[in-house]
């Protein structure tokens, strides 16, 4: 127990320290006027001028269209996999609905997978589709955050920067070097990194074992630093090759939190209000710690139905105890709980334990965090989502005290509030709408692995994960059907672009505004009071929207567990 809490404290302290270092680096990345020669070469190849200044409309359009081209390229490679060279295991190409799902999934930074990596992707696809889309989707998120913050930091300006510059720098100065170094640490710890496809072993008892290997480490590092989450293997970061030691598990966790948490510092630095950045960081951290405590408590107390069968779930010096179904020995309860909380907070979606086998309250947390979608959140978009709620908060408080709401010295008016509400409502619309649709489809029952409330949770989790661009799953659900592939594919696209684009618009509109001097009626947004109000608004809006659906899933399941009902 004490050692578990020590692990939490030390890991979160390291994260906080990295916030400052990386936050400064990203501030430099977004504001430096110098282009290095590799970047100049890239701009020449692309045929763009790094000096071009883009209106928010152009910035958003370039973002969407370049993403579309990358998604299409990924789709084509997946469809052509069988005729492309270099796979001794000759794995078949994905069907059109599955390739659409996969390409949407990876370009939107979701990384939902309706396929099993070891049996359906060649090493070339793992690199040229999966690793490629992981890198560029993360760079897109970071670039969007750059344009967004720049817009909020300017006054009477017509542009929010240059998308190509933000995207290229995010790739070259941030993601590539970090991923490369991290990948080497991972290999040292036991992760494969090879172009070989498999190794055949004869076990001690004489059975044959086929070990699938490949370029795992280079995928794993960007998978976490880029808050992507899709596994090289079907079972993701629970697989010993994807996560061989407690140290790699810890680095995965720190990797996921790195950019989302540091962007709060970058935000404060770029708008020249450092305290604002820390106020946002505080809001993230408060929610994170509360959710972590809930998962850890629920998982360590174990499954009461197993206790009566004679299973010893006590935490002692000789065993981790707790609910070990679907978990790995090397992580135990503490490392697993921290991973579960982080992967759905930072909307990564990799898993180091089977979320479907979490206790009801343990499974409630990932669902709730994806529904709120801004407990740290994904690279770039997490901060953008939090600012969305911050604007909503100043608006609500402004209504209560009867003054024009102001944010960062600018008036918040009807036009940007409409964009904000669009971004806020697209999220539940997609989650609840598609879940309702799936519940009406008779074919859904055939995809479920569990009955009762857990079966409903599987479906709700799938669309929440897709829309929140998370990608983790209650993996019992067989989602490789044309219906699920297509609807989850659309949920991912909706969830990504209908929250991102309205907020780019908000940044553009705010950039054009004049600043107004702060008066006695101005609500300061960098105080503890405001952080509290912000968390309150997030919980209330999220709660009002999603509690009915949660009541039908994990909450009723928890009550049934206490009464000993099985399905």
């Amino acid at each position: 127990m004490t050692q578990d809490i020590m692990q939490f404290v030390i890991i979160l302290a390291i994260m906080t320290g990295l916030v400052v270092i990386l936050g400064k680096w990203m501030t430099h990345l977004f504001t430096s006027p110098e282009h290095n020669f590799v970047e100049r070469g890239t701009y020449a190849i692309l045929g763009v001028s790094p000096d071009e200044r883009m209106s928010w409309k152009r910035y958003g359009m370039v973002l969407v269209l370049s993403n579309a081209a990358m998604m299409l390229l990924g789709y084509l490679i997946l469809r052509l996999q069988a005729v492309l060279p270099g796979d001794p295991l000759s794995r078949a190409a994905q069907a059109p609905d599955q390739a659409f799902n996969t390409a949407s999934s990876f370009i939107t930074n979701t990384n939902w997978q309706s396929y099993a990596g070891e049996s359906s992707l060649s090493n070339l696809s793992q690199m040229a589709v999966i690793t490629f889309l992981m890198m560029v989707s993360a760079a897109t998120g970071v670039a969007a955050a750059g344009g967004f913050i720049r817009g909020l930091s300017r006054k009477s300006a017509a542009d929010i920067g240059n998308y190509w510059v933000d995207f290229t720098r995010a790739t070259y100065r941030l993601l590539l070097p970090l991923s490369f170094v991290m990948a080497l640490v991972y290999v040292w710890q036991g992760m494969p990194q090879t172009l070989t496809a498999d190794a055949l072993a004869t076990t001690l008892e004489g059975a044959k074992q086929q070990l699938i290997v490949g370029p795992v480490a280079s995928l794993e590092s960007i998978k976490h630093i880029g808050t992507n989450g899709g596994g090289f293997y079907s079972i993701n970061a629970a697989h010993p090759y994807e996560n061989p030691t407690p140290l790699t598990n810890t680095l995965h966790i720190l990797g996921m939190l790195l950019i989302p948490s540091a962007l709060t510092y970058t935000f404060g630095a770029m708008i020249l209000r450092r305290r604002q950045g820390w106020a946002f960081f505080g809001a993230f951290l408060v929610m994170f710690v509360a959710f972590l405590a809930l998962v850890y408590g629920a998982e360590q107390s174990g499954n009461p139905l197993l206790t009566s069968l004679g299973v010893d779930q006590a935490h002692t010096a000789q065993q981790a105890g707790g609910n070990m179904e679907g978990k790995e020995m090397r992580f135990g309860i503490a490392q697993t709980s921290l991973f579960v909380t982080t992967t759905t907070a930072a909307t990564t979606g990799s898993v180091d334990a089977m979320h479907s086998s979490l206790t009801p309250l343990g499974g409630f947390v990932p669902l709730a965090q994806m529904m709120l979608n801004n407990v740290f959140g994904g690279d770039g978009v997490g901060l953008i989502n939090l600012v969305t709620y911050a604007i909503l908060t100043v608006f609500l408080v402004g209504m209560m005290i009867g003054r024009t709401p102001e944010f960062l010295g600018k008036k918040v008016e009807a036009r940007e509030m409409k964009y904000v509400m669009l971004a806020i409502l697209a999220h539940p619309f997609s989650i609840l709408g598609f879940t309702a649709l799936a519940c009406l489809m008779p074919s859904t029952l055939a995809s479920l692995a569990n009955s009762g409330p857990h079966g409903f949770s599987e479906v709700l989790y799938a669309y929440t994960s897709g829309t929140a661009n998370n990608g983790s799953a209650f993996a019992g659900l067989n989602a490789n059907t044309p219906f699920f592939n297509t609807t989850i594919g659309f949920a991912m696209l909706l969830g990504r672009y209908f929250t991102l684009l309205p907020m780019i618009a908000v940044a553009g509109v705010m950039a054009a505004k004049k600043t107004v001097p702060e008066g006695p009626g101005t609500l300061s947004t960098s105080t503890t009071l405001f952080t509290g109000l912000l968390v309150f608004v997030i919980i209330v809006v999220g709660g009002l929207t999603f509690l009915p659906s949660l009541a039908l899933g994990p909450i009723v399941e928890h009550l049934l567990m206490l009464s000993g009902t099985t399905f």
Binding site: D51, L73, L184, L204, H239, P246, G302, Q318, S356, H454
Partner: protein, 224 residues
């Protein structure tokens, strides 16, 4: 170079003018940089620095690959320590169109994905508890460590808890016809504590322990 900051270019308001070429070129160019150059460069450096790990930490004995030190494998014989239950499956050798249970199938990692209220889970654990007690000569009401009767996440978990290993030590000693204290000694040597003294829980790597057993004591001839 200072021109970039001093004379500012006019703002482009048109959303789409002149972006067709950069959009198409960027997809191909960044695929080559991030999808080919980056993983290939990592592969090259990794092979140089950590050749054994890069190929999958393979373990060989008498020149033959017997597995990977980070991947679990299936043990059922009494003279070996047994790993955790595994939910992986594989193609039925008799009829490849069907899948059958195939524990520790490293070509198809899988968890059980059963919820806590699942009857399937309760039935499976009930059966595993009974089998574990019988196998290890425990009393009918002896508590059984959680990790010994629950399926791991990957189905390839290479490790078990210290509590679980201790309960199996007597069986292994009997099957090999050696003193229980010697098995215990070997077990202690193969127990790893938290990594860096902080991360994770104490645990035992089953394959490494069994290899050490084979090295120290030949299996009893009758137990082939």
């Amino acid at each position: 170079m200072q021109s970039t900051t001093q004379t500012m270019a006019p703002v482009t308001h048109s959303a789409t003018s002149g972006i067709t070429r950069p959009v198409i070129v960027s997809a191909v160019f960044f695929m080559v940089v991030t999808g080919l150059a980056y993983p290939l460069a990592t592969t090259g450096v990794a092979r140089l620095l950590f050749p054994a790990q890069a190929e999958g930490s393979l373990v060989t004995r008498n020149g033959q690959v017997i597995g990977s030190s980070v991947i679990g494998q299936y043990f059922a014989k009494p003279e070996y320590f047994h790993g955790r239950p595994s939910a992986t499956s594989g193609a039925d050798p008799a009829d490849p169109s069907k899948t059958v249970d195939q524990p520790y199938n490293a070509a198809s990692s899988a968890g059980g994905n059963q919820g806590v209220l699942s009857k399937k889970l309760i039935d499976a654990v009930t059966a595993r508890v009974a089998a574990y007690r019988q196998e290890n000569g425990l009393a009918g009401d002896a508590p059984v460590p959680a990790d010994a009767v629950t399926a791991s996440g990957s189905g390839l978990d290479p490790e078990i808890s210290v509590a679980n290993a201790k309960l199996q030590a007597a069986r292994v000693a009997t099957a090999r016809g050696v003193d229980a204290a010697k098995i215990q000694e070997l077990l202690d040597k193969n127990t790893s504590g938290p990594q860096l003294g902080l991360l994770g829980d104490p645990r035992v790597n089953v394959l490494e322990l069994n290899l050490a057993l084979d090295e120290a004591f030949a299996a009893r001839p009758a137990a082939q």
